[in-house]
């Protein structure tokens, strides 16, 4: 399994635990009032951080290769995808609940940067995968 895949899969598992932990906390009756602000973070940790990241990792590993995997080369596009996806998600988790309850310019800027980072992650994954999806 390529190193990048291992990082994707391990990060996906961290996001899964974080998402379900957050879901558990949000289910506490004493936090019912705050749950709305955190719900988008919970959903995205699960759907993007866990499921999509798992798919990214496995696709990078399993999709047909144009050239044999060179273990000595650093797949920069792949690592850009990994770091922008995870930095974007963490930044989003830190900032989005803040702007949901009050005006906070720094958190708003952080949310916008998070949006851009996640978009970059998706674009790099599409670039990475497109040519590998082909008939024999």
């Amino acid at each position: 399994m390529p190193t990048l895949t291992r990082w994707f899969l391990r990060a996906a598992m961290v996001h899964l635990v974080a998402a379900l932990g957050l879901g558990l906390v949000l289910a506490l009756p004493s936090l019912a009032a705050q749950a709305g602000a955190w719900r988008p973070v919970y959903i995205h940790l699960l759907v993007v951080g866990w499921a999509t990241q798992m798919i990214f990792g496995v696709a990078y590993w399993m999709f047909p290769r144009i050239e044999p995997l060179d273990l000595t080369a650093v797949p920069w596009v792949g690592w850009t995808c990994f770091w922008t996806l995870n930095a974007g998600l963490v930044l989003r988790a830190a900032c989005e609940p803040v702007i949901a309850v009050r005006t906070a310019p720094l958190a708003a800027a952080g949310t916008t940067v998070a949006a851009a980072l996640q978009l970059i992650a998706v674009a790099t994954f599409v670039r990475l995968s497109w040519s590998r999806v082909k008939t024999r």
Binding site: T52, E96, T111, V133
Partner: protein, 142 residues
């Protein structure tokens, strides 16, 4: 990879890119008030990410890697899968339009019918491709 799988997986990548664009625009709207014109497209984002990206990718990869059934020729099953491809993508598009308040809400129902029909056709096809190991095969699973 069969041609129909290539189309399903590439269409799922396009749905992912388009859905992520809408999602990022929506997040920027929440943060800074930008792209207000896209606020009504949250339903499109959700439809594209869940059905257009995830479901379609899984269907495309499953058609590629599940063991082939002996009873059904690849040509027959490929024809069914092209119908699945058409129904699923048309369904996502129509259902997405249905979530926009400026379009008739009935489109959501029509889109979901198309998506469900695609799911039924795929499930019917994939059902026959789940097989146990043949008797007598000595396999050690670790």
């Amino acid at each position: 990879m069969p041609r129909v799988s290539v189309w399903l997986v590439r269409a799922s990548l396009l749905q992912l890119l388009s859905g992520a664009l809408l999602g990022a625009a929506y997040l920027a709207f929440k943060a800074e008030g930008w792209f207000a014109i896209l606020v009504t497209h949250l339903g499109t984002h959700q439809e594209q990410m869940l059905v257009g990206w995830m479901v379609q990718l899984v269907i495309g990869v499953a058609y590629w890697i599940l063991p082939r059934s002996d009873g059904q020729g690849p040509k027959d099953s490929e024809r069914v899968m092209w119908v699945v491809f058409g129904l699923l993508n048309a369904g996502v598009l129509v259902a997405a339009l249905g979530t926009d308040p400026s379009w008739p809400a009935s489109l959501l129902l029509i889109g979901r019918v198309a998506e469900t029909a695609a799911a039924v056709l795929f499930a019917r096809h994939a059902w026959k491709r789940q097989r146990a190991y043949r008797e007598g095969v000595r396999t050690v699973l670790v």
